[in-house]
């Protein structure tokens, strides 16, 4: 059976991105044909300004070269303009007579520069600014002529003017508005921008109306005349007064167009066989001229072309950044504000910094940053997430660092970092390397940055920073996804939240059931989603869902920690950090017997035996089990340790028996799997020798009982635990700690530590669930105890039987 035919008209960024998304999820579905009017393969149009400015070359901005089309089996017609669509016969006819039939048609015809309807607009030397040919024409003109006029003081006009100036021309920008970039900036920021561009030698004529372009003797444009009679020389005129969606082809074939080709939320036109994406489209009355929304459209469109039938495009909030080197400008959302909004403004004219944040109902709805845009991406994220900024309002203007959240999740001042500053400490990746990869390889997402540079691909603590670098490098092309809507991994478009919900509501009890029900793109998932799915299943349906060892990372499969040389480390559990001479003797014997090269005391008060061969593990466990020891789970996303001080049992300051409490907690939680590792500590007095202030749950004994702290972290970025409540008895410590951990187990996303979970949902929410709602707390605690019922020691379970196979080597059998 032959495949259905997909024909795409237009070979620009939005269209080709749609194909890329389509090939990712349904590579074999269509025979694909692409018509491109330009002779070039798909290139990054937003980087034409750096090309004009001489900062990049055309070959640097190619996104998909000819090999890409060939490798994906795309039948490519370059330099062929499509003349007609015959919707009855379902075929596309090019000007040169090429005919291609289609089953699905994708229109991605982009837009054309708006040429002012004035006399002389067709003279030689008058051009729009849209493609490589225009850019080449400008570069050529700059070599031969002196006077350039750019009509339009928008983003594109200013970038063109800057580029021409850098190429040695005298440039005048003519703008009809009262200030520059009036669609992105308020008046103050607009004036500041104008001043700094004037310092670079550009000339501005504001509120000027062009009347005519006047030809010289050669027939080329020579001057420009305004309605007020003023006339200035102009040997090159660049029209950057806006773009018009290119709808001529669609209209001529009878497809309904308004401000663009009208599409619905699935990117279908009025003819359901015809889709459209990009700048040629009007969605809910809006035609977008920035690349980020077009990529969102591309994703949804590909999804529907692949017959997945999920995903809607509901419009985009956009942000912009001017690509003029050395000028920092950022704007997003409702930057003007109005009667029902409030504004916070910083205006340091002498220092060249201006910031305006527009707030409505305690939420950020827009803003303008000039001179210092480092916090732009953070503000944009707050805006998109619709976060309540009430609590941080008084520091909001001073940026993220003042809110006290620098470093962890990596948010810091990406734009201000030097190129040789290290971004990813795990893999030694410097900022310059990331920026270079983003530019040269045309990266647009964090995932792509991870793949190409390895940054943020290990511990992930620099992911936020990498996103900031992406944002500051791409400017308007960057589209942050609201963080709670991010897909779990490349196998799906569903977020962690969606998946957890589906598992609960649809009573899904196996990895296969989830990937099938939620239409995973790869049937058996990947190394990222499978461990998460397995955890969600066993935590949601404790005794129903079957644990899938093949969906666990090797540490949890082998119940020991893999080391850099492929050996393992073994950590027997020492309840509350306590041990006995007999246990120590057994550990020492095992270390000698299996030639353990390194014996180390861990940060969590346990003994680590490092350098054990995998096939020795079960033998060693058997020896340790004989001395009464069980697995310390020092390898898992699970309860690790409960650290203790010596407490009232021995310490002269101790108010509570911390060792006893620690042992009780650790025994209660034995075998508890969780979204990430979990550590507890119990201190007998506020001197806090067990360091309870940086643990997931920290218990501190005081004279009248215990104080309970949650969501601390001694890891990637130290987080001090927050006070949850005070209780009087040991039983209450168990109940509150257990209920908190169960809440985290039920709602946390895989690989999310308690500190990040609490940051996401808010401490007030946790207090409400655990402290105020007594019934709810008891229910959570009961669910925790129920799920831990009948937990077996994983070491003992693997001493023989089917599970032991994991540790046995195969040998070639004799012939």
């Amino acid at each position: 059976m032959s495949k259905p035919k997909l024909v795409m008209v237009g070979n620009g960024m939005a269209g080709v991105r749609t194909l890329e998304e389509l090939f990712k999820i349904a590579p074999e579905m269509y025979d694909v044909t692409v018509f491109g009017a330009e002779p070039h393969p798909n290139y990054n149009r937003i980087l034409l300004s750096p090309v004009l400015a001489g900062e990049m070359k055309v070959q640097d901005i190619i996104l998909n070269d000819h090999d890409w089309y060939r490798d994906n089996g795309v039948n490519l017609h370059l330099g062929k303009k499509v003349a007609k669509i015959d919707r009855v016969k379902r075929q596309v006819i090019a000007e040169d007579g090429t005919v291609e039939p289609y089953d699905r048609l994708l229109l991605a015809t982009g837009s054309t520069p708006f040429m002012l309807p004035i006399p002389g607009n067709n003279l030689d030397g008058v051009i729009g600014y849209r493609d490589i040919a225009d850019t080449d024409a400008m570069i050529e003109a700059a070599k031969r002529y002196k006077h350039a006029v750019v009509i339009g003081g928008g983003l594109l006009g200013l970038e063109a003017a800057n580029g021409l100036k850098l190429r040695g021309m005298d440039v005048t920008v003519v703008h009809i508005g009262p200030w520059l970039l009036e669609r992105q900036l308020d008046e103050v920021a607009g004036r500041m921008l104008q001043k700094s561009l004037e310092d670079r030698g550009l000339t501005f004529l504001l509120e000027k109306h062009t009347e005519a372009l006047i030809a010289g003797e050669s027939g080329r444009v020579a001057a420009i005349r305004f309605k007020d009679g003023m006339q200035i020389p102009a040997e090159l005129v660049v029209m950057a007064a806006g773009i018009r969606p290119n709808t001529a082809l669609a209209e001529s074939s009878g497809i309904y167009c308004n401000r663009g080709i009208v599409v619905n939320d699935t990117l279908q036109t009025y003819d359901p066989k015809v889709y459209a994406v990009g700048e040629c489209v009007a969605h809910r009355g809006i035609a977008y001229g920035l690349v980020a929304p077009l990529f969102e459209q591309a994703k949804v469109c590909a999804n529907h072309l692949a017959n997945y039938g999920i995903g809607r495009y509901t419009g985009s909030v956009t942000s912009t950044k001017l690509k003029v080197t050395g000028i920092d400008l950022f704007s997003a959302g409702d930057y003007m504000g109005g009667k029902d909004t409030e504004e916070i403004i910083l205006n340091d004219a002498a220092g060249g910094v201006y910031k305006k944040l527009v707030i409505k109902d305690n939420k950020l709805v827009g803003g303008v940053l000039y001179g210092d845009t480092a916090d732009g991406p953070w503000y944009f994220q707050l805006l998109k997430d619709g976060k309540d900024i009430h609590e941080i309002r008084d520091q909001l203007l001073f940026g993220q660092s003042m809110v006290g959240d620098v470093g962890h999740q990596g948010q810091s001042k990406a734009a201000a970092m030097s190129d040789d500053a290290e971004v990813c400490g795990c893999n030694g990746v410097k900022k310059g390397v990331i920026v270079k990869a983003i530019k040269e390889k045309g990266l647009f997402t964090l995932d792509e940055v991870k793949k190409h540079t390895k940054a943020a691909s290990s511990c992930g603590s620099c992911a936020g920073l990498c996103e900031q670098i992406l944002a500051s490098t791409l400017g308007g092309a960057y589209q942050a996804t609201a963080s709670d809507k991010k897909p779990m991994c490349g196998c799906t478009d569903h977020s962690h939240e969606d998946v957890r919900k589906a598992i609960r509501e649809r009573e899904l009890t196996s990895v296969e059931a989830v990937t099938k029900f939620m239409e995973w793109k790869n049937a058996d998932g990947c190394e990222k989603c499978r461990p998460a799915l397995n955890y969600y299943l066993i935590s949601t349906w404790p005794h129903l869902a079957k644990d899938d060892p093949q969906s666990r990372f090797i540490n949890e499969r082998a119940h020991a920690n893999i080391q850099k040389d492929g050996t393992y480390s073994v950590v027997p559990r020492m309840w509350g950090g306590l041990t006995t001479p007999a246990e120590l003797r057994a550990i020492a014997d095992a270390a000698e017997k299996y030639k353990v090269p390194t014996v180390k005391v861990t940060g969590g008060q346990r003994i680590d035996l490092l350098g054990v061969k995998k096939d020795d593990l079960p033998k060693m466990w058997a020896d340790l089990a004989a001395a009464g020891m069980v697995s310390g789970h020092a390898y898992g996303k699970s309860i690790r340790t409960v650290k203790t001080c010596v407490g009232a049992e021995h310490c002269r300051f101790g108010t509570q028996k911390s060792m006893d409490m620690g042992v009780k907690l650790e025994k209660m939680l034995f075998g508890m799997w969780s979204p990430h590792k979990v550590k507890l500590a119990v201190s007998g007095c506020p001197r806090n020798c067990a360091e309870a202030g940086i643990k997931d749950v920290g218990v501190i004994g005081v004279d009248s009982g215990y104080e309970i702290y949650v969501a601390g972290n001694g890891g990637i970025k130290t987080e001090v635990a927050e006070f949850l409540c005070k209780v009087a008895s040991d039983e209450e410590v168990m109940e509150v700690s257990g209920a908190f951990l169960q809440l985290y187990r039920e709602e946390g996303w895989y690989l999310e530590r308690t500190c990040h979970y609490v940051q996401r949902v808010g401490l007030d929410y946790v207090k409400q669930k655990i402290v105020e709602d007594g019934e709810g707390r008891k229910a959570l605690y009961a669910r925790l105890l129920d799920s831990l019922k009948g937990i077996k020691d994983p070491w003992a379970e693997r001493l023989d039987g089917e599970l032991k196979k994991e540790f046995e080597m195969l040998a070639v059998q004799p012939a």
């Binding site: 390889k441 793949k451 190409h452 691909s457 290990s458 790869n522 049937a523 058996d524 998932g525 990947c526 190394e527 499978r530 461990p531 060892p549 093949q550 969906s551 990372f553 090797i554 499969r557 082998a558 893999i562 850099k564 040389d565 492929g566 995998k614 196979k805 994991e806 046995e808 080597m809 195969l810 040998a811 070639v812 059998q813 004799p814 012939a815």
Partner: protein, 103 residues
């Protein structure tokens, strides 16, 4: 002369998992089984930093090295782009439910 030798039954390798064939010389060989019950064999050493590929998570026709997450294509031994690297392949075949390795 190399020939196919039996190493185990297919059922001895977990689906989406691997087993290791120990060799006297030349390094261990990892034998993988996919969800579709295809078998592949690679040198048990990631081209990146020598991680034991046999211990990685298998998905599709790929395995993810447990040390630093490099993905290796089981049928070619090549690292999945944009990573680069190559891992030696060994011939394996499935016959009547048994796995044979060419040694």
């Amino acid at each position: 002369m190399s020939e196919f030798r039996k190493i185990c039954a297919l059922a001895d390798i977990p689906r989406l998992g691997a087993r290791v064939v120990q060799q006297a010389s030349g390094g261990d060989i990892a034998v993988f089984r996919t969800a579709e019950d295809e078998v592949f064999a690679l040198h048990d050493k990631c081209p990146h930093k020598g991680g034991p590929l046999s211990q990685g998570i298998v998905h599709g026709k790929r395995v993810t090295c447990p040390l630093h997450g490099m993905n290796i294509q089981l049928d070619s031994g090549d690292a999945v782009a944009p990573d680069v690297g190559h891992c030696n392949r060994f011939e394996v075949k499935l016959e009547a439910g048994d796995v044979y390795l060419k040694v």
